[in-house]
Subunit: 112 residues, 2 copies
């Protein structure tokens, strides 16, 4: 289910999407870009984690780069920049991120 | 989390609210009235049940009558009218419905 108001303006820590399949519950913050990098302020990731803790969901950052599938990173795999915010490079994401099937539990492929 | 577009217009079976607390997940269709009766079309209840099955949530109809607290009925406790839709009387609701604490699992009081 998509959140009613996306973006950082809301005071409540709502993720962009909440999803469930009867076994797994996901809270997803979504970013798309035509560039090779995605920047995110740390309050958005903090809010994603806070909501997930309260609701009982696994938090993910969902990313769509040009020519890639949707890719998903757990907050602990998102690299901080010096100023405390987050930057995700497309190459890092292609190497480390999970695909939709994997975060839904349909595929437990381990990435090396 | 509130759904982005409430009401029966959407094709997707989204409830008005999805809530979780790490243990219990709820899908809630919400109705308020200043009258003593609430009418609901059966496709809205069908959609609530369908979403709940897919997502993995317990479905409830959440009702607010004038001078009452929020009251919650499970779909199986909602009475059908002759035409297949649903009608909930305030008195029936006060007798049979659960309160917020009860559907959140904070209180397991049995009603007689």
């Amino acid at each position: 289910m998509r959140a009613p108001a996306s973006g950082g303006a809301t005071k409540k820590p709502l993720p962009d999407v909440v999803a469930g399949n009867g076994k797994i519950y996901l809270a997803i913050e979504v970013k798309t870009t035509t560039k090779d990098k995605i920047y995110i302020d740390h309050p958005q990731i903090d809010a994603l984690i806070e909501f997930s803790d309260i609701f009982g969901a696994t938090p993910y950052l969902g990313m769509k780069f040009k020519y890639t599938k949707w890719l998903f990173l757990a907050p602990e795999n998102i690299l901080k920049t010096k100023n405390g915010n987050y930057k995700i490079e497309k190459d890092y994401c292609l190497e480390k991120a999970l695909e939709l099937d994997e975060i839904c539990g349909f595929d437990t492929q381990v990435k090396f």
